[in-house]
């Protein structure tokens, strides 16, 4: 298997798109809504940028469109939905681990208080 390290660090947008697809397959608009909701709309997301990211992530085999015959029949057939590939899930995990490591350093240096969960 390839080394996810060569793709890291991910751009913020790429990371958010991967996160949006982590729990559910979504179409473009769904991805944008998910990111907006999760970040309390603190991010300005341009449609053009999202599709630029989608196109590139498909080239990198991080995500793929869900084939029509696998889609639930009640869904709007004209919209294309995307899902993570296993490679994409792998890269997402690697990036998350990298970020966690960064946060742990910040906590160790007491820049950030550890959250009590």
């Amino acid at each position: 298997m390839r080394d996810p390290g060569e793709l890291l660090p991910l751009t913020t947008l790429t990371y958010h798109v991967l996160l949006a697809l982590a729990d559910s397959d979504r179409h473009g608009y769904g991805i944008i809504k998910d990111v907006e909701e999760r970040t309390n709309r603190s991010m300005r997301i341009e449609t053009g940028a999202v599709y630029h990211a989608i196109s590139r992530m498909r080239d990198d085999d991080l995500i793929e469109p869900v084939p029509a015959h696998e889609r639930p029949s009640d869904e709007d057939g004209r919209r294309r939905t995307y899902r993570l590939t296993s490679w994409g899930r792998h890269v997402l995990a690697a990036e998350s681990a990298r970020l966690r490591q960064l946060v742990e350093i910040a906590e160790a240096k007491q820049v950030l208080q550890p959250r009590e969960s």
Partner: protein, 935 residues
Amino acid sequence: MSTHPSSGPSRFWIALLRAALLFHPPRHRADYGSEIEKVFGARVTDARKTLRRWGLIAFQVREMRGLIRSGLSTRWEELTGRSSSPRQRNDDPSVLDGYGILSGVLSDLRFALRGLRKAPAFTASAVIVLALGIGATVTAFAGFKVAVLTPPPFPEADRLVSVDLTRSRDDGERISRWAYPYFQRFVDWPDRLIDPVAAYRRQVVTLTGLGPASQLDIEVVSPDYFRVVGLPLALGRGFVQEEGDPTGPYRVAVVSHAFWQLRLGGEFDAVGREIRLNGQAFQVVGIAPTGFSGFAGGADLWLPHGAYAVVQPGVLEQAGNHVAWVVGRLRPGVTLGAAGGQIEVVGQAIAEEWPRQDSYGAGLRSFSEVWTNSGAETASVLLAMAAGLVLLVACANLASLLFTRARRRVREGAVRRALGASRWRIVRGLLLESFTVAAVGGIAGVVLSLWGMQMIARAWPTQFLEGSGTGMQVINPSGLGLDAGVIAFAVLLSLGVALLIGIVPALRLSSFNITDHLKDGAGATRRRGGKAGIDPQGLLVGAQVALALILLVGVGLMGATVGRLLGVSEGFRTEQLLSFDFSSPQTVPRMDPRDPDVWRAHITLSAQFDERVQQRLTALPGVESVTMSSGGVLSGFQAVLGIRVEDATRSRDATSIGVVPVADNYFEMLGIPVVRGRGFDQSDGLPGTPVAVLSQSAVSMFFPDEDPIGKRIDTFFSLPGRQSAEVVGVVGDVMYTGPDQERFPVAYYSLRERRFGSTALVRTADNPTDVVRSIQQELSAMDPTVAMSNVTTLDQLITQSVGDRGLIFWLLLIFATITVLLAAVGTWGVVAYSVAQRQRELGLRIALGAGGQRVLRLVIKRSTLTALVGVVIGLSGAWAGSRILEAFLWETSARDPRIFLGGGVLLLAVVLLASYLPARRATRVDPVEVLRTVE
């Protein structure tokens, strides 16, 4: 923008989005285009819930920008084959754009922008200089486009011809209007090769019943008129053959699209409506093609010949009454030559049937020949050239500025090259800088030109409207504006300018020897042009001086012309004088030359109304005196008629004379001196004996060495039985046409003898335009069917009479002022820079005992020499170029040495002053300070 609260984006934004998608590579667009559009729609619907109008607009703008940016990035990635990677490159987490930078050019552009931001004074002056140059040139180009490049706006215009009636005399042939009987002869010609044909003439009628009474410009036309025009009518129909029958009466009219919109409310049922012209009811049968205002221009309405019997009876039947222009279309496949041959035969037939001293003929000209105004053409070429000079000076100025900047940055260039930047990379960086400046300057210039075009359209002289030898308006100044052609021109111009100003400094900077400059330290620019060949900055300043001088001489020549024209005596007191025409009340019968009784009644009743108007207006506050005439001073004659001098023993050269019917107090009120005999009084006019007063030039023409008093003259178109009038007085010459025209002979008659409409002249205590309102109220109180028109002051008429030359003068003056200022500023900059650079040397000289005067001379010597060379070159250029102005000069030689000399001296003085001021600083250099601080 849609007003529905929960709807998606408006069609406008969808269109923008599709345009923005064009920035994406086709494959990408095909793959994601429709999806992006849907997502955008859904997001706008969402955004409407939370955002107000401006927020929503901002959101949509951001989306468009994002789309363009992502499209460009995708293209860039495809182009460079760069492996697209989702790796993070953008450190600003608040904007989630995940794509790569357009490296190279973009970063260079950023670099250029940063450089410009860091030098705001340079940037601002560069943009202003360019805006002036480009603004002037774009304005001139738009003028040129309207005046020269605009083809006739009719379909198949290559088949359109002007059919000319010619009258030849010993001194040559001239093109004349047609009389209707001749036109009818042509229309009835068997197997006409020109079909359809149409005659048209301008006329003024009074419109009542739609708001206050008003005078309308109309055209009276033959039935095939709209077929010749060839454009589809907006509504209804054109005229049919029966309506061309001059005995009529057919009460039908076609109105202009503008008239329909403004006066008839633009309703579809306007066709069939009734309007009242000269007190008679007419039915609107059609709406003319949109934007069309007649071949003669300015028409609001068209009447067929068949309506003539109603508005102005009797005019059509008269042979020798030359009133109409004729146009037509060649039959398909017929050549101009073949049709021209037929027309010549028609001309011969007319000449045989109506023999005259100046015998008739007929000829053809294609529209491409007619559709030009030589004055406007020359003027627009001239002004385009002048504007080009302004732009050249602006470029020279900027190149000089950029050069100074480049010199300052020599070290920067050397360092960058030493660090491995290629020469091309450095040139590219500098070119980007000049492109950026040119782009901003170009945009500012286009904005400036919008204003310029407005000014020119407003000041467009009447002399620049009509085609040569026709009554046709061939130039439409309202077409002045930004269209695709003008914008393309502006863009190309800006690009050219960017190259012109950027390339020399860029090449120069990039070619400096690397090691020399790194070794050299702070005084890197010590090597000056003085020793090693020509100093490019001196060259640029010299060029500016030369070009500015050419314009300055042009202004001098035009100024002398306009001054001399305005200095021509009008022959009467023009101060505080208002002039306007007014229509007769509807109770006064129309003049009918076929019925002498009606004719007499028309004259008598009109004169009675005139006298009442005169009394009522004189009583108005602010009015000092009032007089009447038919046809005003300085606005041309209402009638130029054939004249016969009775008991003439010699043959007379002149055959026609301007005929001006006037009120009794006309000469006294206008201050026209009665040289011999008397003016008019109560006893003159109907029913007394016919008398006339001649102007001095008429006397010298018809009675060169005899006493004219008591002689009899006979002019055409007089009341039957009253043709012969006794000359009772001689008065001074008055300007009826322009100041550059020879004084035309004039015969005055009493307004109770004959008339061609009513013109009032009102002398006021203060500003003449103050009383217009009260005059209007007074007139409509006297009779609501009376309309005022052509309201103007004599001052305006005088300005108009030099309109074409005035426009050229003012534009040249503006252009010349800009260039002289630029040349001065350019000189200043170069001298100031050289003083700053030579501080060390100058300090040393002063330390070694050189006096202030000596140092000053040293600094100024160079710029003075440059300016002198520039003046010499400029004078030769002006000498060669002033010929172009010749067509517009009046009593001024295109080579007037005083003007050339004056321009040269003036410019030299300006340049010397501009170099003296910064040079003075050189004498105040403190040698101790300089020697201590510099190295």
